[in-house]
Symmetry: D3
């Protein structure tokens, strides 16, 4: 019916819990995750600027804040499902995009349609802003998984999430990734942990991939 | 590693909440839903037996108790997504079946493989047991949605869920469906309600489809 | 008022949490427990069938799915209370049975009264189905207590629950008990644990009783 | 092992939820209930003092603060169960007292045993302090049930709880009961309510019993 | 110890619940609120741009995403407390700023200190970005309070929050405020509601202030 | 509007969670804390009486049960904020007292005003009852923090809370403090713990301050 329908829909992401089905000492909603991604990305972009890279802040704002909005329509589809076949992944992405388009057609006033189409697009392209979003998104997986492992969670899914996110980050060519690997990750490794799992070894192996 | 891995995995369905994203006065886990489906199906089958229909209780036991086990692997994919295209629906079903097969291959001992393949198959076939499962599964959607509407929940998704489940039930040719429409649904309609939504009218319209 | 009253009442078991008063990393409702008992019992019965034992699947279905339904009427009475005297235990059982009878008299239509009386009876008799129910019910106590201990819970009640359930299972003469002791329990012992409590030693002592 | 064991055990009453099994918009722990009873009783005793009645504040302190401590041992036994027969009620009370005695014997140091026996006794005797405790305890049931009904809860159990608690209060001969009926209850009746249930009529009927 | 300490601290805002003490049908964390403010502000800024106003997106990004970060240090101080005296308000603001400064001094590396000082400043100045933040922040209070009232919550605090936020928004001279009043608020008013409170009248009165 | 408004307001302390923002394995409401303080204080006073000290039980009842009532008005202000400057602390206390006075003026009937002014005053004076309240309040911080540390919580705030509370208790000249240090604390130290933090050493250091 209008922007109200869109604003009201934001509330839904507070009720979708990440990593459903797995035991967690602490749950995270998609909206809390989205806010942390916005915050990480801001600092990562500051690091890029300090290295003389130019940042399109409007674009970064748009793609980080809305990057999981599509979960309102498609729900939480487990990563292994999405990636089980290239064909399925493409189909799911088509469906998500179709549903976002349908929402915009039905609810967003004419004057805003183009803006929303741009904002709710998939933001993880090869631009510096797209890459920063990818790093920030994976960094939150690192924090989520690390925090669970640190408290003694022995669910294998968190080891896999932690490891895969680290590998993904490591292969992105950005100054902020170097900063993360040299300054942030070592501080994380120095925290006290209850885990019977050797997080340091998993970290080193992931960084060697 | 064995039956232990399977038994332990059952715990995951306690942590998957049905209808994620929508406001609910009361949440239901997939395991609580599964238990209610088992219970409804038992009484529905009793009604069939009272009409002289023969029930294969072992089959009914197997298909009702395990009917949502696959959600452990694929997570909660929203119904509109599953049904957005025949092609996508088939692909998702293939993926789910592939993942269940993979789990059985990896974790279930040889002697049990055939049993688990039978038990974890899609149970909603055209046999009387398959139809009873379909009715029981939809009946829980009727109860879930009705209870929310009754407490004054105005989320449209619950109106749609209630209406679609009723229509689905109504078109299944079973004695227990007749019993439900003549004896259970009227009692439900007579409960006190806070709802500004006219549930009785929605019910009548659904039954007239 | 009819079957509707019974179906609606099932919802109550989702709101009764097992082992109230004790600190738990994860809570379990009576309905989630009931569903797991249904699932374990199915596999335990499969094991019996593989040893040539005949299973009455209808009876097993009825007694496993409804085995804790009476908690709707009597609430959660702590095990030590129930067992503090033979006289009290019998009186509480009489009250529970009286309340179930009263519910059936008041709410269940004539045609179903006999069926419900049979289904809501105490199912733990000396038949193979009754014994399987007993094993499945205790097995869920083993899983519940083990999972808490494994995560580092130091509440003594979980040690006692784990130990007593194991001893109870061990003394039941069934093929599935042998399978549990030889194949499932060892896999459980091999899981990683945070516990300062020596679960393996407690297990060995319990099995030696 | 000592007073520490007792102090630590207090934590358990935070984890026991009142009125288990019933749908509630808001849950109350036994410890939160206990604190409110302490607070109500203080004001009720102030009213008695204003009428020239002498209050033994030490006794009132002891019996109000500990009046539900026994639930740590016996758990939450539903009221209808307790009252289903005089014999059962007496037996349950004997068991509760036996368990409290056993706890004192085992954990409380010699010097404190007599004090704890006095404090953990059943406090609802016919003294003014015992009667104030009874009123305060029932008043919390009135508040709990009224608040649920006011928010639109249609569970019959809350109507029964509200009505029975009012009738119980009304028949206790205390100045503070008069104050409650003349000053507090009318303010409650004037609050806005969503309820399709006619609380005012139920109140008037209860007061006419 | 570094940026890690800052990133890790973001997690704390997921555990601070807005409007503590009041009954709510749905709770909102400060991080979920922060994300919604980021989202509203983006669309409000789009509206300003459509009216030819230039937006500093970097500034808007910084001040919206971090606007409640200080709550990590000072906790949730109730609005009436903050505003009870000009002197107290100023002192609390000084304390908050002092704590943020202290955090930056202790944990943020030299190269980032100036950036963090700018980002964690109070953002609600008289610039267009500062005003948009103020509108977005108040808009979330409107949504929070409206949603509770709509579900039948009768806590007066939500009426006050709704009314005050509307009045605050109304007096800010921005194109997006006009859009909100003409297009968004009317859609909100047209939603179904359970409330015995006349939200439409409260809205009209607030807009007439 | 009267005592009803006061009684109803007690409910709010069930919804305020102590130590907001920090990760906790178990949450405690202000009302549950208040009840435990009432219980500890009773036993501490029993110890004083055993040493021949006279206790004003009415005063002790009043100040322990209401000691955190003011949090209804001012919310949870973090300890570091309160103590950041003498001036701020005094102002906040003034505001709290002003709000309590305002509540009494507006809602409490004439006859009760003096009583409520006395009961809702700050109770931690230098009388034996005031000192017992201080010990009981800090003892609950000891229990809260110890229990979290014991379960492996590595949040520094709990180490600080534990240590500061111990130091505070230790410097109060009461017989019950001696009892606590000689009999209760050693039992606490003997409990099993998961913590990588050396609680025993922290305890010894705190007691040596």
């Amino acid at each position: 019916m209008g922007i109200h329908t869109y604003f009201r829909s934001l509330n839904e992401l507070e009720r979708i819990i990440r990593c459903p089905g797995k035991f967690k000492f602490e749950e995270h909603s998609v909206s809390a995750h989205s806010w942390k991604v916005v915050q990480y990305a801001k600092t990562l972009a500051d690091i890029e600027e300090a290295h003389g890279i130019q940042i399109d802040w409007k674009k970064l704002y748009e793609i980080t804040s809305s990057h999981d909005y599509g979960e309102i329509f498609i729900g939480d589809i487990k990563t292994p499902v999405k990636h089980s076949s290239v064909q399925l992944r493409q189909l799911i992405q088509q469906v998500e995009e179709g549903m976002v388009d349908h929402f915009i057609d039905e609810h967003i006033p004419e004057d805003f349609k183009a803006i929303f189409r741009r904002q709710l697009r998939e933001g993880k392209d090869s631009s510096v802003e797209g890459l920063i979003l990818e790093v920030a998104d994976k960094m939150d997986q690192v924090y989520e998984a690390f925090t669970e492992l640190q408290r003694g969670n022995t669910e294998k899914e968190f080891v896999i999430m932690y490891r895969n996110a680290l590998i993904k980050i490591k292969h992105i060519q950005l100054n902020c990734v170097e900063y993360f690997l040299e300054h942030i990750l070592p501080d994380m490794m120095n925290e006290e942990t209850l885990s019977p799992i050797d997080i340091r070894r998993i970290t080193e192996e992931a960084l060697a991939v």
